[in-house]
Symmetry: C2
Subunit: 353 residues, 2 copies
């Protein structure tokens, strides 16, 4: 009998297995500033809504709404569009995969800037697409890439890990020039001064992705949202897993989206602490990239290597993110946390220096 594993598609067999991000063990006293989670818990209305379901748990034996209609309605209402222009996913990660499965045929080209989200090449490989990885800067500047032959373009805005936003003029020009689908992955847009959501009313080849994992403090719940013209949403809807969001994820996300005051409170706090952290690090001689997100990318002063600082901070009880990629190895990405966490971090950096 032949070995069953040999039936694996060659693209999949050649891929490395997924390596999960560093997570502190439960109960450890580490301050976790490496995965851009919210410093605040989600809106208390989430816990109220989910606890309510658990009080009448017989409903759990029933299938949830496969279409997440109520969630789409609320998302549409707060975003100024129709619910037919919204899709809900099991995290925006599912929506990235669904976009690939909907539009990209084997050997078609998928483009993105490097550095950006490391899941894009993984999902493209699984789909069997060709990867076109573009340098983020040409001669030190953002530029409009050559879009010839590109079927799908993933643009992360605000960019991770650098934190800057692409302007709506830039996005308009790219959408216009692209003979394919443009996905603007706006995971961090709630922390930015502007966003591209309104452009879905201008372009029928544009998909905007959002997530509840960052600004809503719900990374545990795995809920992402996609916005586009109804005709595109209709195609994406055929491809997503048919019951892709469980009842508690739907109920929790509805409660979180409905509480926009709480979102604003979180966003204001993060922006304030981002300014505080940036100023404090600049005082210590760090170069700080201006950020529109809930993290800052910083380069330590001359004589201090980022990789060494990351290791020293870990010993002192702080997780921050170091990328070995040559374009990023000079710096560190630090998630914005509470004032007390930021002050402890600054003290630790002073002690290391």
């Amino acid at each position: 009998m032949s070995s069953g594993v040999n039936y694996t598609r060659s693209e999949v067999r050649q891929m490395a297995g997924y390596v999960p991000g560093q997570q502190p063990s439960p109960g450890s006293r580490i301050i976790k500033l490496n995965t851009n989670e919210s410093p605040l818990p989600p809106s208390p209305k989430v816990a109220v809504a989910i606890t309510d379901v658990m009080r009448n748990d017989s409903i759990m034996r029933r299938y949830p709404d496969p279409q997440s209609m109520e969630l789409r309605r609320i998302a549409a209402r707060i975003s100024g569009c129709q619910s037919s222009q919204v899709i809900a996913g099991n995290g925006s990660d599912e929506l990235l995969r669904v976009v690939l499965d909907t539009f990209v045929e084997k050997d078609e080209t998928v483009a993105f800037f490097s550095p950006s989200y490391s899941l894009y090449p993984v999902l493209t490989r699984i789909r069997g697409g060709r990867i076109k990885s573009l340098p983020l800067f040409q001669e030190g500047s953002i530029y409009q890439p050559d879009t010839d032959g590109i079927k799908l373009f993933f643009l992360t805005s605000p960019n991770a890990p650098l934190g800057f936003s692409f302007s709506n003029d830039y996005i308009r020009e790219l959408a216009q020039r692209l003979n394919g689908i443009l996905v603007v992955d706006e995971a961090y847009a709630d922390f930015a001064g502007d966003n591209a959501l309104a452009l879905v009313h201008e372009f029928d080849n544009l998909i905007i992705l959002r997530t509840l994992s960052k600004s809503y403090g719900l990374a545990s719940l795995r809920v992402g949202l996609g916005f586009a013209v109804s005709a595109l949403i209709e195609q994406l809807d055929k491809v997503r897993d048919s019951y892709n969001l469980d009842r508690l994820a739907q109920i929790g996300a509805q409660a979180a989206l409905a509480d926009q005051d709480y979102l604003q409170k979180t966003v204001s706090l993060v922006i304030k602490e981002r300014q505080h952290l940036s100023a404090a690090l600049q005082d210590l001689g760090f170069k700080v990239e201006p950020s529109q997100a809930n993290f800052v990318f910083v380069t330590p002063p001359q004589g201090c290597l980022a990789v060494d600082l990351q290791a020293a901070l870990e010993k002192s009880g702080f997780l921050v993110r170091y990328f070995s990629n040559p374009d990023l190895a000079h710096g560190l990405r630090i998630t914005v946390g509470l004032r007390s966490e930021m002050d402890q971090l600054i003290d630790a950096i002073k002690n290391i220096g």
Copy 2:
């Protein structure tokens, strides 16, 4: 500017959109026997575990375990295998898709008996595979199909909607003859006298799928499990969405799986009511297929058309399942419910007759 929807892959554009199953409106007094949900709520330990998380909801801002390790460990323990032989999915629907993406290249052949689960052809089409739909019986009998050129075979056992199980001897022979991957979809196996789980230790091209949607009363939670040799699980793990199960789904599923006494209580009740319903319908002249599942497929007595009976029952407040497929249009599939529900159903049928 060209219309963005034209970038859709032809397989997807030609597909019909997903049509969700019939769901009674909230608060309606209908007795729902059409989608094989459990007549009992889930184990009360599920609500306790999820409510506990909500009491300390700050954890919700953190990413969940991307590997669902604790859930895999519990599933492995109660199934007599290693946790490296288990994968957890966002419903077994996600695992069906993951299996296709892992093993099936464009234009390779995916086979299944018809009738079986209507999602198989949909997912195969999205993947770009060729569909080989095989008649369930040849000259009235189950048979071993010609496996030439088949890369992936989906076998539903117990079969839906007829309710019979394929024997382990049958499954062994099919796994041996198949030059590809055999998936045995055991959504209803907890209600059956036997199952094929132990065969994953014999065959390295066999994947067994289970779900918590039926016997565990957790259709709302979207948790499925896959069992196979570790080498296959490793490949599937690369392809699933990387954070595919949210924290509450993991915690709830762990609590449900750990409460095997409660599972046995549910299963015993369903088997007892399956016998009661079968006998009562036979007394009324129905032909009842012997069932190993939580439903029965029944053919009304001569002179009563299944399609008419379904409509009359709906008017009387009962949802049962009618299939227009010519092989099934003579009968109805009825989910086994509580004794009171079954007695009301029998009374309604008597009144209609």
